[in-house]
């Protein structure tokens, strides 16, 4: 029996194969103007808003580079990853399938999960390379004098990394299941674009549509774009990535019957569902935004954490009602991260349109222990005192030091287009040419071969 094989040659092969492909470099070249234009447009709008906020501390507080610059710039990167990254990831496996090298690969002394793991690492490296235009937008923003908060920036990058790996894992699975790279691309794009469309068409609708919309890959990014680092979401995406990689490993070996592969896939799906069920119970979430937009004032949070009793909230609003969206974002999303025992129930008609006949529609009931109260407000300024009243505690004193100053900046990023549309693409083409150069043949190998040929001649 052969000994355990070293991982280094396998990883080196996967990295070399993925960076040798045209798909990665073409995607990079396409991302440059896409991200660059988004960045310049975002800076332009931000500068316009900043000009209007000059001399007004209140208006300045609403100017956050996270919303104004980072999210839109990475939004362009997200479109590129959704539409183009599947082609890059599929190449990691599809090329070997089409050239016949897969039949050699599966005979190498590595288990299928290791083979797929190696490809997933190569896909991750490809994502890092693809993120250069977006990361350079951050550098450009700093060069323009803009402000970046490290934690919220890293959280956004983490979200995009997880999203990219999820798209990559789906593409690897598609390549493992299908016979050709073209079919794999169709399958992967059907998932990525399909879920994108799903997010557009079904989000905000009630019932089953809302549940289906939650399955959209795009939903995975929303939390990060809102500046919330949720342990449940991070673990959930990681589990989904592992699940697609495991399914790819199940479908990789050609010598296994389809029936066996289906049975193993079913087992994989059951285990994934169970783990995801457990992960969904993880409620730890941190507001990483500098302006604490996802949190109450520090004094309120300190007091709310001490409320040990169960708080039950019954909302008489349809999920697509703007008031529900408002109260959910402004109050209950924040409450759910600080209150130890909170239950939220939605009692609503099937649709917003059918709400007219219900007199209680719009009410929100609060029950804390034996005490109850009802309100129609969606503002934390009214809801928090109501909850404090039910709990029998006094509202905290004014939250001094919580104010976010905002980071207005009046600047012009148009010159940066030269970087995104000329210098960076040129650098990418140069890097491509360098990477494509054949590696130097090991001189020791040439010397030994020459000696062997000499012996053969003698």
């Amino acid at each position: 029996m052969l000994a355990r094989a070293p991982l280094r040659p396998l990883l080196a092969k996967e990295l070399r194969e993925i960076v040798s492909g045209r798909a990665l470099w073409i995607m990079l070249l396409l991302l440059c103007p896409l991200v660059g234009y988004s960045f310049v447009q975002a800076v332009s709008l931000y500068a316009e808003a900043s000009a209007g906020a000059q001399g007004s501390p209140v208006l300045s507080r609403s100017l956050s580079p996270f919303d104004g610059i980072l999210v839109p710039s990475f939004g362009a990167f997200y479109i590129g990853v959704t539409l183009l990254f599947p082609f890059v990831a599929i190449r990691a496996l599809g090329q070997e399938k089409e050239s016949g090298a897969l039949r050699l690969l599966v005979q190498l002394p590595y288990p299928a999960p290791v083979l797929i793991g190696g490809k997933l690492i190569a896909v991750a490296v490809a994502w890092v390379i693809c993120s250069v235009p977006a990361l350079s937008a951050l550098v450009a923003w700093r060069l323009l004098g803009g402000h970046l908060a490290p934690v919220e920036t890293l959280t956004l990058v983490l979200g995009h990394l997880l999203y990219g790996l999820l798209v990559g894992a789906i593409a690897l699975f598609a390549a493992a299941v299908t016979e050709s790279a073209a079919t794999a691309a169709i399958v992967a794009l059907a998932v990525t674009i399909g879920s994108w469309v799903l997010d557009f068409t079904l989000a905000g609708r009630p019932g089953l549509a809302a549940w289906i919309a939650q399955l959209s890959l795009t939903q995975a990014l929303h939390g990060f774009e809102q500046g919330v680092l949720s342990a449940g979401l991070v673990l959930g995406i990681a589990v989904a990535i592992a699940a697609f990689a495991a399914l790819a490993a199940v479908w990789l070996p050609p010598g296994v019957t389809v029936r066996t592969k289906l049975l193993r896939s079913a087992g994989c799906i059951v285990v994934t569902a169970a783990v995801l069920g457990g992960v969904s119970q993880v409620r730890l979430a941190i507001d990483v935004t500098e302006d604490r937009r996802n949190s109450f004032a520090v004094a309120d949070e300190r007091l709310l954490v001490t409320l040990a009793g169960p708080l039950t909230v019954t909302i008489h609003l349809a999920p697509e009602d703007p008031r529900y969206v408002d109260v959910q974002r402004a109050v209950f999303a924040k409450l759910s991260r600080v209150l130890p025992d909170l239950t939220i129930r939605i009692v609503a008609p099937h649709s917003f349109a059918a709400s007219g006949s219900d007199e209680r529609y719009g009410e929100i009931e609060y029950a804390y222990g034996s005490r109850r109260d009802v309100s129609r407000s969606t503002s934390p300024r009214e809801i928090l005192p109501l909850i404090y009243g039910l709990a029998g505690v006094s509202p905290p004193a004014g939250a001094a030091g919580d104010d976010y100053p905002g980071h207005p900046l009046v600047t012009d990023a148009t010159p940066m287009l030269a970087w995104f549309c000329a210098a960076l693409p040129l650098a990418i083409v140069l890097a491509w040419l360098i990477v494509r150069r054949p590696p130097r043949v090991d001189p020791a190998l040439i010397k030994r071969t020459t000696q062997e040929e000499g012996h053969a001649t003698l």
């Binding site: 000994a3 194969e17 071969t449 020459t450 062997e452």
Partner: protein, 252 residues
Amino acid sequence: MDANTSLHPTIDPVDAGAGALLRVAGLTKRYGDEAALADVTFEVRAGEVLGLIGPNGAGKTTLLETVAGLVPTDAGSVDWRGAPLPRARRRDFMLYMPDGIRPYRDQTVAWVLSFFAGVYRQPTDHVATTIAALELASVLGKRVHSLSKGFNRRLLLALALIAPHPLVLMDEPFDGFDLRQSRAIAAVLRRTAAAGRTFVLAIHQLGDAERVCDRFILLSQGRLRGEGTLDRLRATTRLPAAHLEEIFLALT
């Protein structure tokens, strides 16, 4: 066909010898109603070059791929030195080199050889010996996609020889070579077999097969039509001076 020649021959104890390296028994593979392989049984002995002979569509590639565990079978077993060898463990003992592949087309020959040597922890000396034996030195810096058919075939042979498996299954190893080249490659294989490695070669050019193989398996329409040394097959067909071509025609 000789009246004594069975369509499902059993292993002749005299011909087979005592210790088989690999024993394949009752191997059957169906694609729908069509049997690509029907109850194929044979043995491979250590250190021999076994020729798998048959026309196009005889089932040679399917047989090699099923033995290597790359195609699921409907029935049959594979034993290694008398012990059952599960599909998942076959790559530990044998390497199958398919026909018509161009592995890692964008990489250079030297890189592909180094990759294989790295995976199997083979020393530079072994790689250099293989390169010299297969005359690959002149194309080490070339990309695989730019190789001629003959040099691509040499690369595949080199990969098989660099790998340490005791048994190598090769599909059409002489395809793309002229007579002189075929003789040179046959000599390399014979030397390697003499050093202790075992080869099963699927060959449709009977002249090449006769030149390099110790024993033969004759396959037609997925069925085993004959097995043994050339002398043994001559005796079976009662054609004492016949070449493999005449024997094959007599048995199929």
